[in-house]
């Protein structure tokens, strides 16, 4: 699946994880520190992912100045 990451903005391809929770574990990310979006929709840790999904991992700490 394609994974979009922020801070800095980048994109990567990851194979294997079947759920959002597994994906976050693979990326060594704390669930409390991010939200995961598929398209415009939020997906929870126990939701299944498909190989052709595009997901965005959005950090909850963000800015504005």
């Amino acid at each position: 699946m394609r994974v979009l990451l922020q801070h800095p903005k980048r994109e990567t391809e990851i194979k294997g994880p079947r759920t959002v929770g597994q994906l976050l574990k693979r990326l060594n990310l704390l669930p409390e520190a991010v939200l995961v979006l598929r398209g415009d929709e939020l997906v929870t840790e126990d939701e299944a992912l498909k190989e052709d999904d595009i997901v965005e991992i959005r950090p909850v700490i963000s800015g504005g100045a």
Binding site: P31, D40, S62, G63, G64, A65
Partner: protein, 287 residues
């Protein structure tokens, strides 16, 4: 929402966020229906979500955006804030440091040997208060959330900064004739919950971190708390709400008795000349 051991749909998330804000306003007598509220908006998810919720609740609000002069980042922040205000037909007051003070945060930091975050903090605090007073607002509201307050508390406790602990409250009264009341109606909501609210309600906010905040202690404290929260959901809430409870019971919150008027501008300060005037002096005398 692990700290509540539940998952919610978008509609229920909105209800939850609105209820938490209503409870914060009531528990700390933040403001009433007749008050004019100035919301400090940076273009980030917290301040825009706060403004959105207060408008949803029918309060009389306007936004204040201070452009710090941090290149494209400030440009993007202003653009998103202005677009949000326009989409809701809301009043937005705009203040540019470069135009009004003669220099942006980066130049001010360089001229005064302060960090950009320190210069930014002084400029924001001064202008939030002064603009709120000059425009006749009763209250200034900021988008500080549970994570902001818990990480600030952690930093203050680690260094036993008792003066700061005494002043850390979701509502600070107008304790000087030049001060307006300041409130933090999002203090009951986790950063993750507010981000979810912004996403669900299609609020277009600045996702990037401020480029000046790289390596900030606040981020380290937040990461530590997020580790604890992941292992034991509810930790941040227990830490900060427990502090507020003790503050109330033991009357730890107290007004700063050393507060007085700045010898130059007359605004509230604890020094003879306030930090804002000291910074501006450097701008005036710069070669």
């Amino acid at each position: 929402m692990p700290r509540h051991n539940t998952s919610v749909c978008g509609a229920c998330l909105n209800d939850y966020v609105v209820e938490q804000v209503k409870r914060a306003i009531k528990d700390h007598t933040m403001f009433g229906r007749d008050d004019r509220i100035l919301v400090a908006v940076s273009g980030g998810k917290d301040s825009l979500s706060l403004w959105d919720v207060l408008m949803r609740l029918g309060y009389d609000t306007a936004g204040l955006h201070i452009q710090q002069g941090i290149g494209d980042y400030s440009g993007q922040s202003h653009q998103k804030t202005a677009a949000f205000a326009e989409s809701r037909g809301a009043e937005l007051i705009f203040h540019s440091l470069k135009e009004e003070e003669g220099a942006g945060v980066l130049e001010l930091a360089e001229l005064t040997d302060r960090s950009p975050c320190s210069a930014c903090g002084v400029m924001k605090r001064y202008n939030f208060n002064k603009i709120a007073r000059d425009h006749g607002f009763d209250v200034l509201a900021t988008g500080h959330n549970l994570d902001d307050e818990a990480s600030r508390l952690l930093g203050n406790v680690l260094r036993w900064q008792e003066d700061y602990l005494a002043k850390q409250s979701p509502a600070l009264p107008a304790s000087h004739e030049t001060l307006v009341k300041k409130v933090k109606p999002l203090y009951r909501l986790a950063e993750r919950e507010i981000t979810a609210y912004a996403v669900v309600n299609r609020i277009d906010y600045v996702i990037e971190e401020c480029p000046m905040s790289v390596g900030s202690k606040m981020f380290v404290n937040k990461e530590v708390l997020n580790r604890l929260e992941t292992d034991s959901p509810g930790t941040k809430q227990a830490f900060y709400f427990g502090f507020l409870e003790r503050q109330k019971q033991e009357d730890l919150a107290r007004e700063d008795e050393t507060i007085r008027s700045c010898g130059r501008c007359g605004q509230a300060t604890t020094a003879a000349i306030c930090s804002y005037c000291r910074i501006l002096e450097k701008v005036k005398t710069a070669p």
